[in-house]
């Protein structure tokens, strides 16, 4: 049975009215149950309320589907295989007709078979040839579940023109993909093509299903995403007691009392257990429900099967479907249960053993009546190849997935919205809204999934009741944030930040904040710090009007805990230290030794006191109270204690500083988060050539450069001899005289051109100088009468003219310098020219 991973395809089972009625009944049956669940005691008022509610319910009878018309398809552009049938196909159609006739004769009370609907070009095509097995180039489509999910997302559903009959048309999958919509037959043909291409033994099924299923109505299903994952129950394996395991201490309590107690408790427990069991059963049912009705087989939604086919053959179901599809035997090799159309040599699911051959032949004998004619014809007949064009899905379409990149699915008490990546500017790809009630008015919680966010936000979970927001990040956030749960973005409120500790230098795992405290958890630090808890006091009001940031809250108490440092002896390795800053008290607790149960403790009281003579007391024995597991001499010394205290004082300062830094960091992260939230930039993979603007620009620039390079090369290859060669009769070998002439002509021409160029520059130079002189003359004549503007104009003209003259002068000089060189270079080149070299080398 498992082999049939097909998407079961179905038609409406009963009459429309019946279906509607059943739905109504179902809903009616369901509603009171729901109400009772919510309110345990039913009062008169409630009953009235219930009545009102029930009357409000409108059974939504889907409007009569308008006659199913597909968008006009340009038939002329379709390939030839669409427009006509080959000989083999004609033959197959005849066979099918014959089969159909026999079938209707033998089973007159059954619906006519769905064998050869018309295609886009109104040409009858056999259903099996409409399946074109194709392996898609996307790994996601290699598995049946993701593949089916893709098909259901990619196409939009169009109801059948007549829910009780198979459609008169069955379009090719290529056309369906182009239109991105289709009826259930189109869905299944496409999916079947892809699954068979991916190596599955898949079949298209023509049958009956419930209305919800046929209309892809999931409003009565529980959303699979809202279900909690099954908790794996781990049984702790208890090691068998060893030979010398100590006996447990003798139990001295009264057995009688125990018995009484157990008796009393048992009654309560039984009750509880019963309740639990019920609960469990209910849960189990929920869990076993199929995640998507598109692929179930033991589901209640599948009511019956008429026939099924794949790309090779066609089978008719001869079993009774009184108990939906639950009792069907999917052994297609069994000719009693499944009547085949073509005699197939490889019956894939024949599970009968060789020994049953005789039995089989008997059965065959029984079927002879209908098999007789067919078998003669079908001998060595196999299915002609598919007439359908190649199934192709462009990468863009694959990524966009749903038509227009958006899809909304309504579940029971939940709504799931899906978008293609990059459709939303904030990277939102799906949103699941859970509701408290069935009408979907009271929102319980919202889960939003994001993709390609620059701030690595992956999931945002908003609990609308508590107002708690939980943001989850993928690795790669600039502050190594992993989870951030908060109710408000204001600092000094309740919040928890979790981090990817390996990405952080300080090994911080988690930071919890409340209004008055901050707790940090660390791991893998070289100083073995594991925990720091800071208690803050109320903020002191400052007289100066400083901003809030520069007025940190006073620290009241810092508690730090450390992991065991294996290099130090336990008596010197501090496990916990508490700085009570207001009391000026420092408490130390050391780690416990391996074989001890008590740990050393030390408490420093730091009060600056003055003795009777007014001298400052540096250190007295009562300033350090210590308990040592194994007292040693040197720790009793005041000097040792003094030094330890001085060190702790420094460390206290450091810890306070770190607490302050942590506060700053929280502010920084919050600021960063706000900025990121406002910007919500999306990342684009460098492999995404379509979206990546930068790489596009780069590619285009490269192309341009290449083009220019090409042009330059073309130019460089310009043939300087071509104009002269053209004068000569083509195809003839050059004589020496011709070659010499050619060379001379070429050279003289070049010389002429150089002279011309020099003359041209000279002429321009002279012209420019003359003009300047004229202007100067004019200026000198009219100098007195000129307005300041004119004077300015004149001056600017002068400077420009001078500039031009200078440039021309330079060019002329340069030309004079380079011209002989260029001339020589050309001469050299001509000598080496492959067309002339043979003839000219005699002279060299």
């Amino acid at each position: 049975m498992e082999v049939l991973k097909e998407k079961v395809e179905e038609e409406e089972a009963a009459e429309r009215e019946e279906a509607a009625e059943r739905a109504e009944r179902g809903e009616k049956a369901m509603w009171p149950m729901e109400v009772q669940k919510e309110e345990s005691t039913v009062t008169q008022e409630m009953l009235r309320d219930l009545e009102r509610k029930l009357s409000e319910i409108e059974v939504s009878i889907p409007e009569k589907p308008s006659t199913f018309t597909k968008d006009p398809i340009d038939v002329s552009k379709l390939p030839l295989s669409y427009q006509s049938n080959t000989l083999k196909e004609e033959h197959l159609l005849q066979v099918a007709d014959n089969f159909s006739r026999q079938y209707s004769h033998l089973c007159p009370d059954r619906v006519p078979l769905f064998l050869h609907p018309l295609n886009e070009c109104k040409v009858p095509k056999f259903v099996s040839t409409t399946i074109r097995p194709t392996l898609m180039p996307y790994p996601e489509l290699y598995n049946w579940d993701t593949c089916a999910q893709f098909v259901s997302d990619f196409l939009s559903m169009v109801p059948l023109p007549d829910p009780l009959k198979p459609p008169p048309y069955l379009y090719s999958s290529a056309t369906v993909l182009k239109l991105q919509k289709g009826n259930c037959f189109d869905f299944s043909t496409l999916l079947c093509s892809m699954l068979i291409g991916a190596g599955y033994d898949a079949y298209c099924v023509n049958g009956y299903g419930s209305q919800d299923l046929c209309l892809m109505d999931l409003t009565r299903e529980v959303c699979p995403l809202t279900m909690k994952p099954k908790e794996a129950v781990q049984k702790e394996e208890k090691a068998p007691p060893k030979k010398y395991a100590i006996r447990p201490p003798r139990d001295l309590s009264s057995r009688f009392e125990q018995e009484q107690e157990t008796k009393r408790q048992k009654a309560i427990q039984d009750e509880k257990e019963q309740r639990l069991r019920q609960e469990e059963e209910r849960l189990m049912e929920e869990e076993s429900a199929k995640t998507d009705p598109l692929y179930g087989k033991d589901d209640d939604h599948f009511l019956g099967i008429e026939s099924l086919w794949n790309h090779k053959n066609y089978w008719v179901n001869m079993q009774d479907c009184w108990n939906c599809c639950k009792d069907l035997v999917f052994d297609l090799g069994d000719p009693v249960k499944w009547e085949y159309m073509l005699l197939d040599t490889s019956k894939p699911l024949l599970s009968l053993t060789e020994g049953d051959d005789s039995e089989m032949s008997e059965m065959n004998d029984e079927d002879d009546v209908e098999n007789l004619g067919k078998e003669d014809e079908d001998e060595s007949f196999d299915m002609p190849p598919a007439w359908v064009e190649r199934i192709e899905i462009s990468p863009e379409a694959f990524e966009t997935r749903c038509p227009n990149g958006k899809k909304v699915i309504q579940y029971k008490r939940a709504k799931l919205e899906k978008w293609a990546p990059y459709v939303n500017t904030n990277g939102l790809v799906s949103r699941l809204t859970s509701y408290e009630d069935l009408e979907c008015t009271k929102i319980l919680e919202v889960k939003e999934w994001f993709q390609n966010r620059e701030d690595m936000l992956e999931l945002r979970h908003v609990n609308k009741i508590t107002g708690l927001i939980i943001d989850s990040f993928k690795p790669g956030h600039p502050q190594a944030l992993r989870v951030h749960s908060y109710t408000s973005m204001q600092p000094e409120r309740d919040r928890v930040m979790e981090f990817y500790e390996t990405a952080r230098v300080d090994g911080l795992i988690k930071r919890e904040e409340t209004a008055k405290t901050m707790t940090e958890y660390y791991q893998g630090r070289p100083d073995f710090l594991s925990y720091r808890h800071v208690d803050f006091g109320p903020r002191v009001k400052k007289t100066a009007l400083n901003s809030a940031e520069s007025n940190p809250r006073p620290v009241v108490k810092i508690t730090e805990r450390f992991f065991r440092n294996p290099e130090k002896p336990a008596d010197e390795d501090v496990a916990e230290r508490v700085f009570m800053i207001l009391d000026e008290r420092i408490q130390l607790r050391y780690h416990c030794r391996e074989d001890h149960i008590t740990a050393s403790k030390r408490e420093f009281l730091r009060r600056t006191e003055v003795d009777s003579k007014g001298n400052k007391i540096i250190m007295t024995p009562d300033m350090c109270i210590s308990f040592e597991v194994e007292p040693t001499e040197h720790t009793k010394k005041l000097l040792y204690q003094y030094e330890a205290m001085m060190k702790l004082k420094d460390e206290e300062k450091l810890s306070r500083h770190q607490a302050w830094e942590s506060e700053l960091e929280v502010l920084e992260i919050l600021k960063l988060r706000e900025e990121e939230e406002a910007a919500h930039a999306l990342t684009i993979s460098i492999y995404d050539t379509k979206r990546n603007e930068k790489s596009k620009e780069y590619r285009e620039a490269m192309e341009r450069v290449m083009h220019e390079e090409h042009l330059r090369q073309m130019e460089a290859q310009l043939d300087y001899l071509a104009p002269f060669l053209a004068q000569l009769p083509p195809g003839e070998k050059l004589t020496r005289w011709q070659a010499v002439r050619l060379k001379d002509e070429c050279l003289s021409d070049f010389k002429q051109r150089l002279i011309d160029k020099a003359n041209l520059i000279q002429a321009r130079f002279e012209k420019e100088t003359q003009e300047l002189q004229k202007k100067q003359q004019w200026y000198q004549e009219n100098q007195v009468t000129l307005t300041p503007e004119d004077e300015d104009l004149y001056l600017s003209y002068c400077s420009q003219a001078m500039f031009r003259i200078r440039i021309l002068e330079q060019r002329l000089n340069r030309h004079k310098e380079l011209a002989p060189l260029k001339y020589l270079a050309l001469e050299e080149k001509l000598y080496k020219d492959p067309r002339l070299v043979e003839i000219l080398k005699v002279f060299v």
Partner: protein, 522 residues
């Protein structure tokens, strides 16, 4: 002190040490404290005694924990008096008049040794300094490059200075040192670059290879020796050492004069051969059995100690949890008592606190008593089992030894027979002439012969008996020793825990007392 000309050599005395410690110890506030309390020599970690004209190192033994000792710029002639400073890491003896390296055998943690500017001519007696990293031997009188080879044994040596020695003036000096000490990083305070290292290696490749080969051989030999020793130890632990071969058999004949004489008799050679084979097989059986039994005993002991460990761990965990719980409430109530103002509430709180302490004490003691009882039970069970195992082993050994004795008896009979036959032949004069004279002396009469054979037999039996006795006594001794140890360990553990618990409770009580006193004073 600093007179011109010859200064008077001094000796390290208490005054000098106290002065040095005082000057080099903590300063300012901490210094006041140190003065007030006095500093114990054994707490000093670093000591500087330079430019003191010290002639002899002495009186340094109280500085048990000294890490760094500077004795440079003195007139010391001999390294001595440092035996007790085992934790020394840094020793500076530069600018003295030392002629030989000595007296450093106990300084195992020494890492940095400076003997700069002395009169040393030979590098040796440094074997104990396995952690040596820096060795300064500049300005000495080392003339022979072979001294460098001695330094190969210090795997951690990274810095060496030999400048100012006659040896450093040799052309090959640098290359030689680099080649023979490949792990060296600094020579004469300069980094050795890789290029020099390569060159040096190529230059001295052949002699170096030879040296390495010799070293490897030596090492392999040592390892072999070690392995053999370990194996023997293992066999000794199983009490069957030297039983995996013909050792016992050979030892039987080692002291047996008559036996070796009788071996020359015709036919006895073969007899001896078969006897020997059979005997060795029995010995091997005994050996195998011994090893097996040893393994069994070991497994038994392992499970026992594991179980005991687990039980103790669990108990400790319970104790710790109790204490943690107690401390949580105790700390709170202590601070409450500190803050309390009224005397009556204070009283009640103090009483409550005391009760809690007593309760904790009782709970912990109960736990400990429980554990002690449980362990006692387990130990007695183990005692029985191990005694059984030992008994079984002894029985096995005895039966196998009996086989040995049987073989010996059998052999004795056969030998006697052969001897008498030979005697008869001798009497009849049919004997071949190839018997040595001392053997021929046995065949004077029957009594002598029988006595000789009997003596040989007795010696053999004695050997077997003594081996058996040795084995059995050893096993029993091991057994009693083991059990004694287990009992002793358990008792010490118990005492320690009880002491710990009462100490803790006492501390809590005294703390409360101190609080009460303080409150009353207020």
């Amino acid at each position: 002190m600093s007179r011109l000309g010859d200064v008077e050599p001094r000796v390290i005395d208490d005054h000098m040490l106290k002065q040095a410690v005082g000057e080099q110890g903590p300063q300012e506030e901490a210094g006041q404290l140190a003065k007030q309390e006095g500093v114990l020599f054994k707490d000093v970690l670093s000591l500087q005694l330079d430019f003191q004209n010290i002639l002899r190192i002495d009186n340094l033994w109280p500085f048990e924990n000294l890490r760094k000792l500077q004795l440079d710029n003195n007139v010391i002639e001999k390294i001595e008096g440092l035996e007790r400073l085992t934790r020394l890491v840094w020793l500076d003896l530069s600018f003295n008049n030392i002629e030989a390296i000595e007296g450093l055998d106990s300084l195992e943690s020494l890492e940095d040794l400076s003997l700069f500017n002395n009169r040393i001519s030979k590098v040796d007696s440094l074997d104990a300094l396995v952690r040596l990293q820096v060795l300064s031997l500049g300005n000495n009188r080392i003339a022979n490059l072979t001294n460098v080879i001695y330094l190969r044994r210090f795997k951690g040596l990274r810095t060496l200075s030999l400048a100012g020695n006659p040896v450093a003036e040799q052309d090959d000096y640098k290359m030689f040192v680099c080649a023979y000490l490949p792990d060296l990083v600094y020579l004469d305070f300069r980094r050795i670059d890789d290029h020099t290292k390569e060159l040096a290696e190529v230059k001295h490749q052949y002699s170096l290879d030879e040296l390495k080969h010799r070293e490897n051989l030596l090492q392999a030999q040592q390892e072999d020796e070690q392995a053999r020793r370990e194996e023997l130890e293992e066999h000794k632990a199983a009490f069957v050492e030297n039983l995996n071969g013909p050792f016992l058999f050979e030892s039987m004949y080692a002291e047996d004069v008559e036996g070796s004489k009788l071996a020359c008799l015709p036919g006895v050679g073969e007899l001896l051969e078969t006897y020997r084979d059979k005997f060795v097989i029995v010995c091997l059986n005994l050996f195998e059995c011994g090893l097996k039994q040893q393994e069994k005993r070991k497994a038994e002991l392992d499970t026992f100690s594991q179980c005991v460990q687990e039980a103790i761990q669990e108990n400790q965990e319970q104790g710790r949890q109790r204490i943690a719980k107690f401390e949580e409430t105790h700390l709170l109530s202590l601070s409450a008592i500190r803050d309390a103002s009224e005397l009556t509430t204070l009283e009640t709180r103090l009483v409550a606190c005391r009760e809690r302490v007593a309760e904790l004490f009782n709970a912990l003691m109960t736990l400990e008593m429980q554990l002690a009882e449980q362990l006692e039970e387990t130990i007695s069970l183990f005692e029985r089992n191990i005694a059984d195992l030992v008994g079984l082993f002894v029985e096995n050994v005895q039966s196998l030894m009996a086989q040995c004795r049987d073989l010996e008896n059998h052999h004795h009979e056969k030998l006697l027979e052969a001897a008498i036959n030979t005697l008869e032949k001798t009497v009849k004069g049919e004997l071949d002439e190839d018997l040595p004279d001392d053997v021929r002396a046995l065949f004077v009469d029957k009594d002598t012969l029988v006595n000789a054979v009997g003596a040989s037999h007795d010696v053999h039996l004695l050997k077997i008996d003594s081996r058996e006795d040795e084995l059995v006594t050893k096993v029993h001794a091991w057994c009693t020793h083991l059990l004694d140890r287990i009992h002793r360990d358990e008792i010490t553990r118990n005492r320690k825990r009880v002491k710990e618990i009462s100490q803790y409770a006492d501390h809590a009580q005294t703390e409360l007392d101190a609080l009460e006193c303080a409150e009353l004073l207020d």
